[in-house]
């Protein structure tokens, strides 16, 4: 299937933004000595496509009532979200580089009261799809055209609250709500499938009444096509994109390993990682 025409971006532009996400994740981790590399790298293409091609936001007016909302179910990957917000101008790079320092607005998990552009606080897995349901209900009640996107992890699918939220979103036919599951297959303790298998996810979400698409989350054509399907061609119920990704994607020695779910690169490995990131995805 041919990719649909883009409004704002090309694959080359989005690939550069994904590189930026990975590069800045490494730099920010350098500041604090620990970071969720794997989760930030796996979502890089998804977040780049969302912000630069699809979401309607106003960096100069962060609380614009009709902005599209983006919530981080997987709040531990905020380190890969903040650089996008800085790049768009929600705050300066200088501010971002206070990351994790005493009193900084920016920590490992996002605080909506401190980080402009962060639509909700996060860090406790499984909360934000519920919050997004409430946002979608409120926006619909206000007659706003704004949409709500909640990015979840695949480990997050083990939280019962996710399914409470899924049930309610379908019950209320929240067409303006989009879930994305970043299926990087890795959790804190190892492979998600070994820790607590959550498959078949497609059947589960479909059974809960959602439109479902499963894609390669690093293929920018597939990502953009799925987001267009979910956001611009919504029907009468919520949509979920199941994005198969690779934890640590973009740095060969970090890919697919739970060891890099959370960690710190020494100087040599950091330089190797940055060099690989600049080469881009194969």
């Amino acid at each position: 299937m041919a990719a649909r025409p883009r409004r704002n971006t090309t694959n080359a532009m989005l690939a550069e933004k994904a590189k930026m996400i990975r590069r800045e994740t490494v730099k920010l981790t350098d500041i604090c000595g620990s970071g969720h590399y794997g989760s930030a790298f796996s979502m890089a293409e998804l977040v780049a496509a969302l912000y630069y091609e699809f979401l309607h936001v106003r960096p100069e007016e962060p609380l614009w009532a009709d902005r599209d909302r983006f919530t981080m179910g997987k709040g531990h990957a905020a380190i890969g979200h903040f650089p996008v917000l800085a790049d768009l101008g929600f705050f300066s790079w200088e501010e971002l580089y206070t990351y994790t320092r005493l009193g900084s607005p920016f920590g490992d998990h996002p605080d909506m009261r401190k980080v402009k552009g962060a639509d909700f606080s996060s860090g406790s897995i499984g909360h934000n799809l519920s919050v997004s349901v409430g946002m979608a209900l409120g926006l619909r009640l206000r007659g706003s055209p704004a949409r709500v996107v909640c990015l979840m992890g695949d480990g997050e699918q083990a939280e019962g609250q996710v399914w409470e939220a899924a049930m309610s979103a379908a019950h209320w036919r929240l067409a303006g709500l989009v879930g994305i599951v970043d299926i990087n297959a890795v959790g804190s303790d190892g492979a998600v499938a070994e820790t607590m298998n959550n498959e078949p996810l497609h059947e589960k979400w479909a059974a809960f009444g959602w439109r479902v698409r499963r894609i390669d989350g690093h293929d920018l054509d597939a990502v953009c096509d799925a987001l267009d399907w979910a956001l611009n061609r919504a029907e009468d119920r919520p949509s979920v994109i199941l994005a198969d990704t690779i934890a640590g994607k973009g740095v060969s020695f970090m890919e697919r390993t739970w060891q890099w779910h959370l960690g710190f690169l020494g100087p040599e490995d950091r330089d190797r990682a940055l060099a690989e990131i600049e080469k881009g995805l194969a």
């Binding site: 009261r113 409430g134 009640l141 309610s168």
Partner: protein
């Protein structure tokens, strides 16, 4: 009152249902201490009908009045408890602003937070034990950490659910929730207190938890009282001791005041409805005037109102003795609520006895 035996609703009522119906119709069964006797409809023996007895839970009516007065931002959330917590009337009036989440409290709390971010003022109306105990982490992360304008009305608190058992008792919510920063914790003790509290806190810039009763308790106020953040209401002045009470213990305190007055003991009774923030000046004034203070609550004495008062006294070096009346770090046995109040000394006589004993010991 008619003595004609009426058929219970539902032609195929189960034998146990019929037996229960027969029992309540049986004059040999002593209903004198039942909380549902006054006004109980013997013809229907109907849960929905019996909810009309919950006269002290006017949440839905108060919110309808506020909405009618132009507050289009008010929305109501519940988790399959719109009837017993008395907000279903709001749903009938404003169906698009009424969200019943089914039995999914955590989802409800998160969605209320989401609604608040889009400019609405959500009121969650639910049983306190499911809302506050199950939902504590969601309340903390989604409502309080984010400082959103969500109001929670936690009903049926304490041991008001009686024989429904420990899962339906809530003697820990004050302790859990007053540990959460940004969260205001208040306890309206009757319908008029709720009528005062909800409008007074409507525009408070942050989350509020209202700890309410089952709605069948005896009223305290004839009209909505003054209500403010960190406030309290002195209902009776007294020369010998002060009782700071919330919930059903306010009425028990008033009863104790009368009992003690007959014996020459003068008890000040204060409705300390604002648990967090708390009225330090009322506490310290009482400590200065009286050597012995009492707190009364349907809550574990560990971490509840008594602990909050103790913190104020200790930090101020006030030196007054404090007697905490409540559940003494144990789960309540089950039984009809009024029987439980008597059993644990949480009625007027029980409070009076504790005051007398403490004053006697204090010399």
């Amino acid at each position: 009152m008619s003595t004609t035996a009426a058929t219970p609703p539902g032609a195929s009522a189960s034998p146990s249902g019929r037996a229960a119906y027969a029992a309540i119709r049986n004059p040999a069964v002593d209903m004198s201490e039942s909380t549902v006797r006054p006004g109980f409809d013997p013809a229907s023996w109907d849960m929905v009908g019996s909810l009309n007895l919950s006269l002290q839970l006017p949440t839905g009516q108060v919110l309808i009045e506020l909405a009618d007065a132009g507050r289009d931002d008010i929305v109501v959330c519940t988790a399959d408890l719109g009837r017993p917590t008395q907000v279903i009337n709001f749903g009938r009036r404003f169906p698009h602003r009424y969200f019943n989440f089914g039995i999914a409290e955590r989802n409800m709390i998160g969605a209320a937070a989401g609604l608040a971010t889009t400019g609405f003022t959500p009121f969650i109306s639910n049983y306190s034990f499911f809302l506050a105990l199950m939902g504590a982490e969601n309340i903390r992360n989604d409502l309080a950490y984010t400082n959103l304008r969500v109001r929670m009305v936690g009903t049926h608190s304490g041991i008001a659910m009686g024989f429904y058992g420990t899962s339906h008792h809530c003697c820990e919510d004050i302790g859990l929730l007053r540990a959460i920063a940004n969260l205001v914790v208040m306890a309206p003790c009757d319908a008029n207190a709720i009528r005062a509290a909800l409008p007074a806190m409507l525009d408070h810039d942050g989350p509020v938890y209202f700890r309410c009763g089952r709605g069948r308790e005896a009223p305290v106020y004839d009209a909505p009282p003054a209500w403010r953040l960190g406030g309290s209401t002195m209902l009776r002045d007294g020369r010998h001791a002060t009782l700071f009470a919330i919930g059903t213990l306010v009425k028990a305190g008033l009863d104790a005041h009368e009992i003690l007055a007959r014996e020459g003991i003068s008890l000040r009774v204060v409705d300390l409805y604002s648990i967090k923030p708390i009225d330090r000046s009322a506490i310290l004034a009482a400590a200065k005037e009286h050597g012995v203070l009492f707190t009364g609550e349907e809550h574990n004495v560990v971490s509840g109102l008594g602990s909050a008062v103790a913190e104020v006294l200790a930090e101020a070096g006030a030196g007054a003795r404090l007697v905490r009346i409540g559940l003494d770090d144990q789960y309540s046995i089950l039984g009809p609520p009024t029987h439980l109040y008597r059993h644990y000394g949480l009625d007027g006589e029980g409070v009076a006895a504790k005051v007398k004993a403490a004053l006697g010991k204090a010399g």
